[in-house]
């Protein structure tokens, strides 16, 4: 209610405010005011002076008004530029955020993939260390077998234990490295000693000193080998 009253009050003020001067169109030179009783009246100099004075004042106030309007325009232009700048900044920021979001999404996605891969790898290769230890036991069983020429029940028993161990690691994905072509391949062989040999073009395996094994598709332990090197001329 109070607001309503106030508004009305304001309107009254507005209506009553403009004088003849202020009613002139904006920016135009004001036309002389219409004097309803000018026809039959004798104009005194006093009256004229008064009128000049009035015109003067009118021009002055109009000029002031133009000045104010100019300032207002400048102010608005500045505001518009600032607003444009703000919009531009916001636009840039939004693009940057969009870029960051996309990047973060891609990162998350890649991270998820990597995590999955790491999980798989962990599953496949987490036993590497213990399997390597097992292989050493198998090596020693084989050494024991090599050291005993006689074929008897004891040897057979040890052979069975050895096979049992191999079966155990085999079930975990361990496979023996075999190279039928006899070529030395550092992907799976480790050279322990070398010897020059006739009639070969490239390094060949002379002797396998210790077996090598793969775990799934990855090297678990290289075979230790003696390498035959082509004889230098």
């Amino acid at each position: 209610m109070i607001n309503e009253d106030r508004k009305i009050q304001d309107e009254k003020d507005v209506l009553s405010a403009p004088s003849a001067e202020a009613a002139a169109p904006e920016g135009a030179i004001p036309a002389p005011p219409v004097e309803p009783d000018s026809a039959g009246r004798k104009k005194t100099s006093e009256h004229r002076n008064h009128k000049n004075n009035k015109d003067h004042q009118k021009i002055k106030s109009l000029k002031a008004e133009i000045e104010a309007l100019k300032k207002d325009l400048e102010q608005r232009t500045r505001e518009a530029a600032a607003a444009r700048e703000e919009v531009e900044t916001a636009r840039k920021e939004s693009l940057e955020w969009k870029d960051r979001t996309l990047r973060a999404m891609a990162d998350t996605d890649n991270f998820r993939k990597r995590l999955e891969r790491e999980k798989d790898e962990f599953f496949l290769f987490s036993l590497s260390d213990i399997l390597k230890e097992f292989l050493q036991v198998i090596d020693n069983l084989e050494r024991a077998l090599d050291a005993r020429d006689a074929s008897d029940g004891f040897r057979e028993g040890v052979e069975l234990i050895c096979r049992q161990m191999l079966d155990l690691v085999g079930k975990r994905g361990v496979t023996l490295i075999e190279r039928p072509d006899g070529r030395f391949d550092p992907n799976v062989h480790q050279a322990l000693l070398t010897e020059e040999a006739e009639g070969i073009e490239e390094p060949m395996i002379g002797e396998e000193l210790q077996k090598g094994y793969m775990l799934n598709d990855r090297l678990l332990r290289p075979a230790l080998v003696k390498v035959l090197m082509p004889k230098k001329n």
């Binding site: 990047r103 993939k113 550092p186 480790q190 050279a191 000693l193 290289p222």
Partner: protein, 521 residues
């Protein structure tokens, strides 16, 4: 904005890491391992093998298997570092026209930069396979005592490998970053780095996020391998006295001994006693012989105490050089695999009077720190280390009258920096001055490393001592040096970027890259 990786390019092993959302992480190599042997081999078939593959065939191909490149890179053939390393190498060395050391791998002669680049190419490939996208930028670490040539040569190796080096940082600085010490209150940090083949102790001062190297000392030929060798020697001697058989005469047995020694050493860092069992290791007329013995931690400490104690005077030396006492050191970081040994931890703890930090895997901490720095440069992660500054490790200056050395930038000045000093002429109407840029601490020019030489000509005629020649040294954030000399009166100026007298010129680096590209097609 591509991925940036952090690389610890070590003497024996290298490691690569990146900054993941949950912190720095090591990137495994193509065989699934955290570290890669710093070895390169050129096979007779023309293949280049790197890392484990190179290591596996090293014995079959010793003269073409290159290792310990870090001992050579950025050095002159005649330098003590190279001559000291030489007897331990299986491949040849030669001298380049500019005096740099070159590697002779069979009939091929290459620069250490190229050799090293093959290792970096492999590490880059590991990272690319890990991310599934190309990687072209890196942060690389070097020892705190590396001079400008060595730093530049390491950078060139990376360039040849197709990696832009965003920053070269000191290894101890990287380790400090891995431990988050840049967020600690200002103080002095001791980084005790005991690797496979080298020992380094560095004292760093951290103040306001800036790392100053206060002092560095070390032994280039002391490392974990020496400890293994002690165990091998002992096992071998015991077996010889017990059975009269020398296990060293058979390479396979020696290999079994070596593996057993490494395992025993590792075990004894966690347990007080370990057993070494090598059944059927030898045989004689009386039958099969087995090596079976128990080694206690006390045994190992007795056999290797002197090796650990060799690091103590080096720590004293570093402290002395920095003008500090042991109790002024706020944090101690242990880096390098050998620092896992309990005796090392005990001795270092006693020396500084406080327990060292050991939480981070000492094989990985340098690479992890490099990864943190790479993340900062990538614009990710830790915003609290926006600026990582290093300091010059050696003083820089020019040669003056009678072969004197005039320092212009003192060692341990925070970089980037710029400093000018005025000089004058010695003779009347001298028109030309030779600016000989040197690096080092000696008071005589001869005692220091020459970095570059250039002439400033066209000095206006004047009596001796009248002209003013301003010599300006400028070092950028990567530690690269630019020197200019200006005759104030005539305004004539000459500039030089340091390394024309050594290392590869940018053109040479480009040529190598081109050549490699052509080879690839």
């Amino acid at each position: 904005m591509s991925r940036v990786i952090g690389i610890d390019l070590g003497t024996t092993f290298s490691c690569v890491a990146h900054l993941s959302p949950e912190g720095p992480k090591v990137i495994p190599n193509l065989e699934g391992m955290a570290t890669t042997p710093s070895m390169v081999c050129f096979t007779s078939a023309g293949e280049i093998l790197v890392g484990n593959l190179a290591a596996r065939q090293a014995l079959a191909n010793p003269e073409k298997t290159i290792f310990a490149i870090k001992r050579l890179i950025g050095n002159k053939y005649s330098s003590p570092a190279v001559q000291e390393a030489r007897p331990r190498l299986t491949y040849g060395l030669s001298e380049a026209p500019n005096g740099d050391v070159l590697i002779r791998a069979g009939d091929r002669t290459i620069t250490p930069q190229e050799a090293s680049s093959h290792i970096l190419v492999y590490l880059k490939r590991c990272a690319e396979s890990f991310f599934g996208e190309p990687v072209t930028e890196c942060v690389i670490t070097v020892p705190a005592h590396f001079d400008d040539h060595q730093r530049q040569a390491t950078k060139d190796a990376a360039r040849i490998a197709g990696l832009d080096v965003l920053r070269v940082i000191n290894e101890p600085t990287a380790a400090s970053l891995a431990y988050g010490l840049n967020r600690n209150p200002d103080g002095v940090v001791a980084v005790y780095d005991f690797g496979g083949g080298t020992f380094d102790i560095t004292l760093l001062e951290i103040s306001g996020g800036v790392f100053h190297v206060l002092a560095t000392a070390g032994d280039n030929f002391l490392g974990g391998d020496d400890f293994d060798q002690r165990i091998i020697d002992r096992l071998r001697a015991d077996f010889l006295s017990k059975h009269g058989i020398d296990l060293g005469s058979n390479p396979y047995n020696l290999q079994r001994l070596k593996e057993a020694a490494e395992r025993a050493k590792r075990d004894l860092s966690f347990t007080a006693i370990t057993e070494v069992n090598l059944p059927f290791i030898a045989a004689d007329a009386s039958g099969s012989k087995h090596l079976q013995t128990a080694i206690t931690r006390a045994n190992l400490e007795e056999w290797t105490r002197d090796l650990v104690e060799r690091t103590l005077p080096l720590m004293d030396k570093a402290l002395h050089e920095s003008g500090l006492t042991a109790n002024k050191v706020a944090e101690i970081l242990l880096v390098g695999g050998q620092s896992r040994m309990p005796l090392v931890r005990k001795k270092v703890g006693e020396f500084f009077g406080k327990d060292p930090n050991t939480q981070i895997n000492p094989d990985e901490s340098v690479a992890l720190g490099a990864a943190i720095q790479s993340g900062v440069l990538e614009g990710n992660g830790a915003k609290d280390i926006v600026l990582l500054l290093d300091v010059t490790s050696l003083s820089l200056g020019i040669e003056t009258e009678n072969g004197e050395f005039e320092k212009i930038i003192d060692k341990n000045t925070t970089i980037p920096c710029r400093k000018t000093k005025s000089f004058t002429t010695v003779d009347d109407n001298q028109r030309r001055v030779r600016i000989h840029v040197l690096q080092g601490e000696g008071s005589r020019a001869l005692e220091n490393t020459s970095l570059a030489m250039f002439d400033l000509v066209g000095i206006m005629d004047a009596a001796a001592g009248v002209p003013r020649i301003d010599v300006t040294f400028e070092i950028d954030a990567d530690g690269m040096v630019r020197v200019s000399a200006r005759d104030v009166l005539s305004g004539r100026e000459q500039k030089v970027s340091v390394h024309p007298s050594s290392g590869l010129s940018p053109q040479q680096v480009e040529n190598i890259i081109e050549r490699e590209k052509k080879k690839a097609h």
